[in-house]
Amino acid sequence: MFNKIQKFILFDILKNRIVIAYTLLLAVLAWSVFSLEDDSNKGVLTLLNIVLLTTPLVSIIFTTIYLYNSAEFIELLLSQPVRRSKIWAGLFLGLFFSLGLSFMIGAGIPILLFVAGRTAFILLVMGILITAIFVSLGFLCTILARDKARGIGIAILLWLYFSLLFDGLVLFLLFQFADYPIEKVMVVVSALNPIDLARIFIILQLDVSAMLGYTGAIFKDFFGTGLGAVLGFLLLCLWAVIPYLISRRLFIRKDL
């Protein structure tokens, strides 16, 4: 499965101090959350906030910076008889596996130890998917801007948009259309933000979903059923695949 390029990139990143620090950060946060909260359900909620904030941020920024920093390495590889798509895939898989591994080691171990079966599984899957999505968005940022500062700027803006601005817009919409039955529309709108999608997915697993009221019930009807869950999962996968495919297409055509 791993070719030489992927292996090289994977080990290069795993040795990276930032990735080690990220692993440690996740570990410290997760362990402290679970040892402070007696109720693992509440622990999951606190951890959820952290995971949905740090994981995307680290994934997208690290990916972007790493890609810019390895511009020369990429150019070197391009001079070899290797297909461009293979190089891009190698970079993606290397970054995704290393960041995913950090997540699994840092947050995954305490989650598996403290949280009951199904919720732990969903939480881990969501963490991995969010990592993949934001690595993929990082690739898009890099390819969209040749300038490093601009690329990182776009990455930060994207992160800000998905974790903060989008929810602000949702809040605004909810108040603007308070008099209309927009619950079903909200299901569609939430699909436009992978972080929201992941958050709702996990909350529906927990007891607190009863607090979501009527809207929550509609979401549960949709995402709680087999078909809805599969659809939601596929949507998240699309969020990981599409930005990557766009960036690959641009990379293949790019005049370096």
Binding site: D39, K42, L45, L48, N49, L52, L53, S163, L164, D167, G168, V170, L171, L174, F175, A178, I182, E183, M186, S190, I195, D196, R199, I200, I203, D207, V208, A210, M211, L212, G213, Y214, T215, G216, A217, F219
Partner: protein, 429 residues
């Protein structure tokens, strides 16, 4: 001869005393003879094989002793003041057709029976035991299984329902009755019963001056305790858990709620305690743990909520703007998602000396009262009350951010929704 006279005198005295005493003895003997009640034994190998036959013979004050076995005698009517006592758990079977026991006399005791399978009918509500217009009826230590209604009292006074186990396996509200159903009654004592699987565990409507003490009501389909138009009652040290919608106390004044535990009533429309149109009542020393809403108050006036524990609830208290002059003091609010929420800007209730685990103030003069006031209302809880679908943003980053900024500079939350003297430490309860 000085000494003989007193001697004779004292002897005469003694004789008269013993005579009188003998008379009293004789009297009492005759009296006992008259009132010693007959006991009629029912069971295989006893004079009677049918409970109905024994009741027919019995007169007021008699005892009908029923020994172990299954008795399927249809509807047994007790229209005399007798004691019906079960030995070795005789089973009274209603065969899914009849009301099992109907009490239509005062001074009746029913104890030691297993009563099961009453009929199901929504017109005349067949029961395990139904008391019609009677006083001093004691129903003690019975087991009631799978009846439509368990124990039903109407127009009754001074009755005691104690230590019964009442269980049914209802699945839908409309297909099952209540565990203990009391209607238009007075001075009842409901003590130490365990009720599960009914529509409402205990149901009170137009019941006055009664006490509900040490009962366990759990896993009922609707309410653990349902209280309507029942003034001046008290319920004390009961345990209500896992009921479909918690406990509802409505349209009543003068209710005392002490020392109860409301636990794990969790669901879309579940409350630990639902108060609707209640006034002049006292909620003291209860525990609200793990409910969607600990207390939901609507149209509630002049209530004291004192020294309760609110822990692990979705909402500790939901106080609607229709509530007035309620005093919420010296409670512990611990680990609730929202400690308090309200649906308007009008606040006519007071908070003082409560312990809020999210309080971040300080206490410079060490009087264990926080020096800066605490605002228990988070911005997000206000937003959610205004626009329920926004709950969708629960636990999102923007909500955390909004709450933080609102805590620093309150702008949108009502500014008199405040605990001026928050407690620094949890109140020992």
């Amino acid at each position: 001869m000085d000494g003989t006279f007193p001697l004779i005198e004292s002897m005469r005295y003694l004789i008269s005393i013993s005579f009188r005493f003998g008379l009293i003895l004789l009297h009492s003997f005759v009296f006992v003879q008259l009132t010693i009640a007959a006991t009629y034994s029912v069971g295989t190998g006893y004079p009677f094989t049918s409970i109905k036959a024994a009741i027919d013979i019995a007169t007021a004050g008699d005892t009908v002793m029923v020994y172990g076995g299954v008795y399927a005698e249809g509807n047994i009517i007790i229209a005399k003041s007798i004691s019906l006592i079960g030995r070795d758990w005789p089973v009274l079977d209603g065969q899914h057709k009849y009301e099992v026991l109907s009490v239509k006399a005062d001074h009746v005791l029913i104890t030691g029976f297993k009563i099961q399978f009453s009929g199901h009918a929504s017109l005349d509500d067949p029961c395990g035991i139904k008391v019609y217009d009677s006083q001093y009826v004691d129903i003690i230590g019975n087991e009631l299984n799978d009846n439509f209604f368990g124990i039903y009292l109407q127009y009754s006074k001074d009755c005691i329902i104690r230590d019964n186990k009442i269980h049914s396996s209802g699945t839908e509200e409309q297909q099952i009755g209540n565990g203990i159903h009391c209607w238009k009654s007075d001075s009842l004592q409901i003590i130490g019963n365990t009720i599960s699987g009914h529509r409402d565990g205990i149901y009170f409507e137009f019941v006055k001056n009664s006490v509900i003490w040490r009962n366990i009501s759990h896993d009922n389909i609707r309410y653990g305790l349902h209280f309507m138009f029942s003034n001046d009652d008290a319920y004390i040290t009961n345990y209500f858990h896992h009921n479909g919608a918690g406990v509802a106390v409505m349209f009543t004044n003068g209710v005392k709620m002490f020392n109860n535990t409301f636990k794990d009533n969790w669901g879309d429309a579940a409350y630990g305690l639902l108060l609707k149109e209640i006034s002049d009542s006292y909620i003291f020393n209860n525990k609200f743990i793990g409910n969607t809403s600990g207390i939901f108050m609507e149209g509630t006036n002049r209530i004291q909520v004192e020294k309760n524990i609110f822990k692990d609830n979705g909402w500790g208290m939901k106080i609607q703007a229709s509530c007035m002059d309620n005093e919420i003091s010296r409670n512990n609010f611990v680990r609730n998602t929202f400690d308090v929420s309200t649906n308007g800007t009008l606040v006519l209730n007071t908070f003082d000396h409560n312990y809020w685990d999210e309080y971040e103030g300080y206490d410079l003069n060490k009087d264990s009262i926080g020096d800066i006031p605490y605002r228990p209302l988070s911005l997000f809880s206000v937003i959610v009350e205004k626009n329920p679908p926004t709950m969708l943003l629960y636990r999102s980053f923007i909500v955390t951010l909004l709450d933080r900024s609102e805590k620093m500079i309150p702008t949108l939350t009502p500014d008199n929704f405040i605990d001026e003297v928050p407690s620094m430490q949890a109140i020992p309860l």
